[in-house]
């Protein structure tokens, strides 16, 4: 492994009721988060290919862990998202290098498909930074019932020379989705949008 990992955390969130209505089956979201050393911390590095390679291996590992935490097969996942928080000695561009060039391909390999853009967020922050991972349907970005987000945080990360990288996967949309728009059974799945 290229990444020097200090810690990995997985979160599973299940909603069984909302506004006093039963949600059956419960909606479920999982996130896997890795806390890694930032090899580019504290200095300007022009070539960020090392971080891109780290993104590739984390894409595979974190997606596998998130899917395993839900106890489902990859292709049963419905929506996904990704996010990173860079410690104070790093640069926002470090998060971009991890998230954008190479992380997506292994995510899609684990999930079988994934025609849609993987929604993402990034920030720089200190210990306990809260990541709001955006979520969208994995095969059609316009599926309105699956626009959502998942909040994760670790009180001891990211340290100044670290990066927190997260991948979130769900097997469902929002608990009581009812604002119309494209539904998941209308997906054509050709262009990643509809």
């Amino acid at each position: 492994m290229k990444a020097k990992i200090r810690k990995i955390a997985t979160f599973v969130e299940e909603t069984l009721r909302e506004m006093d209505r039963e949600i059956s089956p419960p909606t479920r979201k999982a996130a896997a988060v890795a806390v890694i050393e930032n090899p580019c911390a504290g200095k300007y590095v022009e070539d960020l290919s090392e971080l891109m390679a780290i993104g590739e291996e984390l894409g595979e590992m974190l997606t596998s862990r998130a899917v395993a935490a839900l106890g489902i097969a990859g292709p049963s996942a419905e929506s996904y998202g990704k996010a990173a928080a860079v410690g104070e000695n790093g640069e926002l561009e470090h998060a971009a290098a991890i998230l954008h060039p190479k992380l997506g391909t292994p995510v899609r390999r684990v999930l079988g498909k994934g025609a849609a853009l993987i929604p993402s967020s990034k920030k720089r922050g200190g210990l306990g930074t809260v990541l709001d991972i955006p979520l969208g349907h994995k095969d059609a970005a316009f599926v309105r019932s699956h626009f959502d987000g998942m909040e994760v945080q670790l009180n001891d990360a990211p340290r100044a020379n670290e990066i927190m990288v997260a991948v979130a996967v769900t097997d469902s949309g929002r608990p009581l989705a009812r604002v119309g728009g494209l539904t998941k059974n209308q997906i054509k799945g050709e262009d990643g949008l509809r």
């Binding site: 810690k7 990995i8 955390a9 997985t10 979160f11 969130e13 069984l16 009721r17 419960p26």
Partner: protein, 194 residues
Amino acid sequence: MPEVVIRKRLTCVEAIFHEGGAVAAKPLRRAAMLTVIRNPFAGSYFEDIASFMDDLKPLGLDMARRLVAALGGDAKIVEGYGKGAIVGSAGEIEHGALWHVPGGYGMREVLGGAKAIVASTKKVGGPGTRLDIPITHINASYVRSHFDAMEVGVPDAPRADEIVLALVMTTGARVHARVGGLKASEIKGEDGLR
């Protein structure tokens, strides 16, 4: 007998590989299970609340079982534990105290008669409140290597009329424990203390 109504569950598992020192041969794992329930006593003062502890016992057992499952399914690997509660703003701290018996009972049942008192903490707070759950060795409270804590919380809970109930289990000592004191290998295991 008020019913136990669950809105949401959150499971978090951490694997800690190092914290600046050598990478552990077996990473320390810490798992937390949080359940958001309706507070049947929210909104006014009720003198008689103690019977709700019995109603919560099946939940304590279920949460303890889910925690062991999240750690791989073998109760024998669990070495540390703790518990806590966050009461929403329409409740009182005494409602959190209802968790002492059923939370401890559930973990003892699943872990096969752990001897040490289950360290605990509780507070009243709003949605997203964080709680530092203290952790000690399951058979001897004085084992210094196992003193730890895990910060937990649910982004959208507790609402005013809810309680977040939490259990935590760990698989070992702090990752770089080296401040002496009673060791796990020196436990007599008679009084739950040493």
